[in-house]
Symmetry: C2
Subunit: 374 residues, 2 copies
Amino acid sequence: MNFSIDTDVLLNNLLISQKALSTKTPAPYLQGIKMEVYQNELVLITSNSDIAIKIVIKDESLNIETTGEALIPGRVFVDFIRKLDKGQVDISVVDNNVLRIHSHNTDLSLNLQNVDDYPEINFVTSELPIKLESKIMKSVIRQTTFATSNIENRPILTGVNIKVDGNKLIAIATDSFRLSQKVIEIPSNFENMNVVIPGKSLDELIKILELDLEEILVHLNHKTILFEYGNILFQSRLLEGNFPETTRLIPTDFPIIIKFKTNDLSVAIERASLLSTKDNLNSIVKLFLKPDNVVEITSNSPEIGKVVEEVYPIEKAIGTPLKIAFSSKYFLDALKTFTSEEVYVKFTGEIRPFVIEGNEDAGLVQLILPVRTE
Amino acid sequence: MNFSIDTDVLLNNLLISQKALSTKTPAPYLQGIKMEVYQNELVLITSNSDIAIKIVIKDESLNIETTGEALIPGRVFVDFIRKLDKGQVDISVVDNNVLRIHSHNTDLSLNLQNVDDYPEINFVTSELPIKLESKIMKSVIRQTTFATSNIENRPILTGVNIKVDGNKLIAIATDSFRLSQKVIEIPSNFENMNVVIPGKSLDELIKILELDLEEILVHLNHKTILFEYGNILFQSRLLEGNFPETTRLIPTDFPIIIKFKTNDLSVAIERASLLSTKDNLNSIVKLFLKPDNVVEITSNSPEIGKVVEEVYPIEKAIGTPLKIAFSSKYFLDALKTFTSEEVYVKFTGEIRPFVIEGNEDAGLVQLILPVRTE
């Protein structure tokens, strides 16, 4: 194997590849990048226990002398390419087990791992992938993944539930204290599906979507989901088990509705949350809809002090006075998912889940469970 | 005590104040900001075991109703002011032990600490302070402090030695494996002095010098050093004990001198250092001045591989071929202190300390001890 390529082109692809590199693993080959050099393309493969990435590079700077394959220590290779001066870099295998990297006055020899140790990875495409705008895919991930559980005692809740149901794609995440649901419309020619993708996989995928290509293809299978994004194939395992049926958890009838400027509400809750101790989850704030239509957000810590924030709803609120308490972190997390400048907070009662929606965020519902206080 | 002030003015001063706040301390009053309100000025005092900061605020937005003083929980107060909307903020003491902060629709009540618990801090000025350009003070700190020891077994080496000797101010730091010395000229009308300032204090001072005021006054005393920077007094304790006499450690006669482009040398050593394990200090690189005037920087790790970098000196090197090995981290740290685009690396022998100097960095010497290899 012997080829040369523009350093920046190689680096940009390696930076994507390395998102699937294992840093700590009992299987040292998973710390490696598998490089396959064909007649007219260079392929980079990386994988860990959750995801696998395959990148096919066809670039005009790519100049292939001889084909071949190699398993390269990932971290040190990427770090080194990152530090090279601009220009062409020559890469070849010498003495069968050494990778030689040469550029300008720099010469690196890297001991190779045995490429035969690398597992065969199938990147499973489907015949009829779902085509989505990348920016829609990005918002679906951003608006749901944060609400997954990071506690492993109910593993299924560490994932995002993706359902295809007729002409709807529904994404749901919940840690059982809050729930995020995003529904988008898709053409109705797909099989119905119901899978759960690890939240961690989606956290990596969204970083790759920064490339701002227009479209992404989603290949759904029974064991894996494969995202095809330009020359990148990003495959994730699926979580096994039944995701809880959440449709009935979201109330549909709201006797109390308050419309806020998103920003007014967010800064008020942020300030009120400052009184808490280090543990943000325990920072409970109270919302009080007063008969005069002013909303008070308050927080009280006997040791530190007390905050009272007045927020003025945009319109006269619908419904009776209300007092409700909730985690400021959950509320702020939920608010951040909206692009709408105005949001509706909709209540069914003081100890019942409430939801947040925004006019400019069609299909998005954030649900939060209140906490009981004295 | 009752006054109002522009939120941004208060915040900018608090952000400086808080650099002397203790976060963990057995003395809770050191987590507080002492606020003193006089007829026409607001004073903020903070201190920890190393440094004390006093800021005197006279601003046109400052509107004082009644004078007084208070000891305010530091962290939560600063965080809160940071989150306030722009505009005027009203601050007053109510019920004797509660601080009330009011701005727009926000109301915070903070439980106060007992101001009588706060120790009396003397900010000791001298009659004849040394006046320096702030940017010179900044470079003296930046060019020396990094070389202090962070191991506490020889406490004196955790500080920077500042000497006033006739018309010279000399700053020296060493961890006994490397040494940094910067000499600047000052008027010759000061008493000779020899003090050691904790490196940590200087790390905080340099952050404050970001304000870019032109001058700084240095008040040297026997127990403390006080920097006067605009409306800020920054005082540090001094380290007790004798700083080692280092003048004779710096060689003056160099049979081998190589002149490099600073950047060429720095990228070559950076790349060579990538082969090391996580522990940077152990990343030893070798420099080989070959008879053909090419310099090879190499690094070798039996498990990972090998790097060979060729660097071309700017001129024919003075002296015989040389092989020397050193910590890449120490070399890179030292190189970063130079603004010169070209540096001289000067050797006396393969196992003797070597120095780095640059034409555009008058008074700056970086010395490094080589390591022995097989």
